[in-house]
Amino acid sequence: MKILVFIKHVADTEARILISSDKKTLEIENKYTMSFFDEFAVEEALRIKEKLKEGQVVVCTFGNKKAIEALRTAVAMGADSAFLIDNTDMENDDPMVNAKVLSGFAKREGFDLILCGRQAIDDENACLGPMIAEFLDIPHVSTITKLEIIEIKKILVESEIEGGTALTEVQLPALLTVQKGLNEPRVPLITGVMKAMKTAVPVVDPSEFGIIKNELNNESRTYVLSYEPPSGRPPVKIVEGEAADIKVKNLIELLRNEARAI
């Protein structure tokens, strides 16, 4: 079974982010990581391969050169190969463009299954998975929490739906977005890290699968007018009182009459 895993290299939660003076671009501190939910996708792909005792796990990202780090993490975990589709000179991060590029890669590469995180933690779009599935004309299931291979071209997945769960039988090829709880991502072993350091990560140009970068810029449907910091809250008001119940009374008073929140 050939499994493609699409991952994203994102700014770490702790990274400092500055807005340029023209408000058009962001300057992000050099602290990056693989997007949280993508780790579950890599892990699941490896577990499927281990269980079937055959198969190939290919990780890919559409990003800049720095994203090779995230790809190496996946290789260190055990992925067989990794590809970077270079997005240098690409204007922005439009989900439509990203989905077209990655589905182009998937078509060229061939696959039985595609896995990706349920959403990236930087933009929280949650768009890429279902969009890629649409472009490839394959079924998808979002936010899966359990996966079982029942026969060579058929899988069983449990997924989160509005207020509950669903059990679905899916014919492969298919795309699944993964939710926390699906598995416990492994920590790479030192041998894996050594292997990852030596693994060449090919840089692929979208033109290799018939997508011309300049034309892609025209495909971008949205753009950022401006970035700004959130308007900070005024400093906290510590509610005082001689005893706990007085503090609570004073708090309720403020919530009712000042904040008009209750």
């Binding site: 779009n125 739906i161 679905t168 959130p230 510590i238 503090k247 708090l251």
Partner: protein
């Protein structure tokens, strides 16, 4: 040209979801400026009552009522919306960024080859142009975004982004019949829709969230009682979920849910970035913690520095009184 806005309405247990009413209300404000109409599009089975209720939130209510649409599936719902959009040619399409919205709209946008902005929190006209408010990096950065091109762009919004306003007069109901096609490659074997009737965490007006300071799963009972009084929901920090005191479904934060209720109360939560990224767009934030230096106080409007277990019973009584008075 008419700038009609079409809102895809989500229903739950036979009632319209609050977040959909928010979008209809905001759409009305926007369409009033352009002398255009708001269309509510409701898809499902047994939709008569829903249609009647929707009349007071839209100029036109499009109903697609079919047994095969009883339960949401992206394939059937995508087909219906594709048909409606192609037939009516809307100026914009709004949906809620819920589990359903996140599953459906990207696939629909790709199908229509149109623009999408997901997980937005605001929208305004600037002159003739539409601009959309979208947070990045867990709310550390806010942006205004715009559409370059694309027919009938799709925007999904977080619940609790807009106020709800009912109209005085009712709109018109239009019933559409659409052929339903199921994708044979997907077979739903079982749906477990949850019997607890809990308010959806992202949709709740009131969230009381417990952290490590709650000291154990048994102490969440009082939070449940407070949430019940306020018709809200209990949330939890990652530490609490990792300790198995609460289900993952309750988790607020980067790896859980992003919430923006009218009132958020954090109890015994230190305020790690991981958590605050998921709640800092809440309207009013209250923090209760015995440590005056807990980072959560930097994100709060009101704080109480005291022992939780002394505060919570009093809080429950006071909120109960407030509710009874109203």
């Amino acid at each position: 040209m008419a700038k009609d806005i079409y809102v895809f309405v989500e229903c739950k247990d036979g009632t319209i979801r609050k977040a959909s009413l928010e979008l209809l209300s905001k759409a009305r404000e926007l369409t009033e400026k352009t002398f255009s109409n708001v269309y509510a599009v409701a898809v499902g089975f047994g939709m008569n009552e829903i249609a009647e209720d929707l009349k007071f939130f839209a100029d036109k209510v499009i109903i697609v009522d079919n047994q095969d649409l009883k339960d949401y599936r992206w394939d059937t719902y995508r087909g219906v919306l594709e048909y409606i959009i192609k037939k009516y040619n809307p100026f914009m399409v709004f949906g809620v960024a819920t589990a359903t919205g996140k599953d459906l709209f990207p696939r629909l946008a790709a199908r229509l080859n149109t623009a999408i902005i997901a997980d937005a929190i605001g929208i305004e006209y600037e002159g003739e142009e539409i601009k959309v408010r979208k947070p990045f990096f867990g709310g550390k950065i806010l942006s205004w975004m715009a559409f370059r091109h694309g027919i009938a762009p799709v925007i999904t919004f977080r619940p609790n982004s807009f106020a709800i306003e009912k109209r005085q007069t009712g709109g018109e109901i239009v019933e559409e019949t659409v052929e339903i096609k199921k994708d044979p490659r997907l077979t739903t074997l079982k749906l477990n829709k949850g019997s607890n009737h809990k308010v959806d965490l992202q949709e709740a007006d009131f969230i009381i969230c417990g952290g490590r300071g709650m000291k154990g799963s048994e102490h969440f009972r009082i939070l449940e009682e407070i949430a019940y009084i306020m018709n809200g929901r209990v949330g939890a920090s990652r530490a609490v979920v990792d300790s198995k005191w609460r289900e993952y479904d309750d988790q607020v934060g980067k790896s859980g849910k992003t919430v923006a209720p009218k009132v958020y109360i954090g109890c015994g939560i230190s305020g790690a970035l991981h958590h605050t990224m998921g709640m800092d767009t809440s309207k009013t934030i209250v923090a209760i913690n015995k440590d005056p230096n807990a980072p959560i106080f930097q994100y709060a409007d009101y704080g109480i520095v005291d022992d939780l277990f002394a505060i919570l019973p009093a809080l429950k009584e006071e909120l109960k009184k407030t509710k009874e008075e109203n």
